[in-house]
């Protein structure tokens, strides 16, 4: 009788598909925040382990905010912030095929490294929000839910991030 009320989160197939949908973005979010890839992975994994252990008391529709909350709470103690190290996709040359002159290519390379540096220099909030949009391709509304802020705040952070980035690159 008590099995009837058991949350679907405990179903292995449902849990796995939830994991596939959200694990990477949680891990990425933590990475944008702390810049430590291993730590981000560990925190994300711990959060999902907790979800799995407590699956009976967490309905699947609450699971997402559950793992984000757990990850956020346990990350409060993690003080060591490192620089976020990003890279460009391998198949992205950053240049138009039509314009292959070496000077242009060099300029592009310079721009790319400047951009990476500028992103590293962004403050945490702006960086996290900006990268959730650029790398994970999330909508502003999704970001707002995951960070528990308003869409307007997301827009503000993106706006400020772009302003800062442009200024940094100009220097």
């Amino acid at each position: 009788m008590s099995n009837k009320n058991r949350s679907t989160t405990c179903d292995e197939i449902i849990f796995s598909s939830f994991f596939k949908n959200h694990f990477k973005s949680l891990r990425n979010y933590l990475y944008y925040k702390f810049g430590d890839r291993d730590q981000a992975e560990d925190l994300a994994q711990d959060a999902f382990i907790k979800l799995w252990q407590n699956c009976a008391s967490v309905p699947i529709e609450k699971a997402k905010s559950y793992v984000y909350t757990i990850a956020n709470n346990s990350s409060l103690n993690q003080i060591a912030h490192q620089k976020v190290v990003l890279r460009y996709a391998k198949n992205f040359g950053g240049s138009d095929k039509t314009n292959e002159n070496p000077e242009y290519i060099l300029e592009e390379k310079q721009f790319q490294s400047n951009l990476l540096k500028a992103i590293e220099e962004l403050n945490e909030k702006q960086r996290v929000t900006f990268l959730m949009h650029r790398i994970d391709g999330k909508k502003y509304s999704e970001i707002a839910i995951e960070l528990e802020i308003s869409v307007k705040t997301v827009e503000k952070r993106i706006h400020l991030a772009l302003l800062t980035l442009r200024k940094q690159i100009d220097l």
């Binding site: 008590s2 058991r6 405990c10 292995e12 849990f15 796995s16 994991f19 596939k20 694990f23 990477k24 891990r27 990425n28 990475y31 890839r37 992975e41 994994q45 999902f48 382990i49 799995w52 252990q53 407590n54 699956c55 009976a56 008391s57 990003l86 890279r87 460009y88 996709a89 992205f92 950053g94 721009f111 790319q112 951009l115 992103i119 900006f130 990268l131 949009h133 650029r134 790398i135 909508k139 502003y140 307007k152 997301v154 827009e155 503000k156 952070r157 993106i158 706006h159 772009l162 302003l163 980035l165 442009r166 690159i169 100009d170």
Partner: protein
């Protein structure tokens, strides 16, 4: 002013054509566009999700705490029980207690101080248990006999007057306009309107429509306790009222010559005898119209 985060809107492709055209015309547009283009090709290291998932699923699920049904059940029963107890406690102590004697019956009960009360038929008593010893007060409608335990002041309130006593035995009879008090032992103090008097053993006082009548009696307790009613110069309508109350019946009187006053006793446990006595006294014929209806007619 509502802030318009135009850069954010542009990055999310939300600008209107006009806004976009305006933005594209700005000198910084090229740089922003480059940021947009390049940042869309950023990526983070891939992870082996299946490996991690496998690890996670190896963890044991915490068994949810199952509260056995019987425990929930017991808690509920206990809660209801406690609620019931407290309501009973409140009712018993704070809500006035009511004792009634139906028509044709008498009721005997004890008060918290062991004073005894016998309620005559068609009477009602109300009292509060809360602080009974400090405030021995009773409200009476009808007739009752009190055998009061020794102690502090004891008061019987009726709509006509108040009787206050110390350890004693007395009878209070409060009818429409008539207050009839008899003291069988000790002393009672009677307050009727502005009049205050003290009755001692064997004294009786009747106030009827403001007129005071004092008599003395020999009985040791009221006749109705022994299934009798005593009348002293009673008119027939009061007499029949009393009989109706005692036997829980309806009596109709079809006679004009009924001015004689009645003095004597009637049984309260034998209707036929009682009716016969009245019939003989007033020279009336008794007819049973229905089970509970009696008609007296002129012979």
């Amino acid at each position: 002013m509502k802030k318009n985060y135009i850069l954010a809107k542009w990055l999310n492709n939300e600008l209107s054509d006009m806004e976009l055209a305006e933005f594209q015309a700005s000198p910084d547009f090229e740089k922003y566009n480059k940021i947009k283009k390049h940042s869309s090709h950023l990526e983070v290291d891939e992870i082996d999700e299946n490996k991690i998932l496998g690890k996670i699923l190896q963890h044991k699920k915490a068994t949810p705490k199952i509260i056995p049904m019987y425990r929930k059940w017991i808690v509920r029963v206990a809660a209801i029980f406690i609620l019931g107890l407290s309501i009973t406690f409140v009712m018993k102590n704070f809500v006035p207690q009511t004792q009634t004697a139906e028509f044709g019956k008498t009721t005997t009960f004890s008060l918290p101080d062991n004073s005894e009360v016998v309620l005559n038929s068609g009477s009602e008593i109300e009292y509060k248990k809360w602080k009974w010893n400090a405030n021995r007060e009773i409200e009476l409608e009808g007739e009752a006999y009190f055998k009061v335990a020794k102690g502090s002041r004891f008061e019987v309130k009726t709509n006509l007057g108040t009787v206050a006593v110390l350890g004693t035995q007395f009878n209070v009879k409060a009818r429409k306009n008539r207050l009839d008090i008899t003291c069988y032992e000790g002393r009672v103090k009677v307050n009727y309107e502005d009049t205050q008097l003290i009755l001692t053993q064997g004294q009786n006082v009747i106030f009827e429509n403001g007129i005071q009548t004092n008599t003395s009696i020999n009985a040791l307790k009221p006749e109705w306790i022994d299934h009798q009613i005593a009348f002293n110069k009673e008119n027939i309508s009061n007499l029949l009222d009393e009989v109706q109350r005692q036997y829980n019946i309806i009596i109709e009187l079809h006679s004009k010559d009924t001015n004689a006053l009645f003095t004597g006793k009637l049984p309260t446990n034998n209707l036929d005898v009682a009716l016969q006595i009245i019939g003989t006294t007033y020279n009336l014929e008794v007819k049973k119209a229905a089970k509970n209806k009696i008609i007296f007619e002129q012979k």
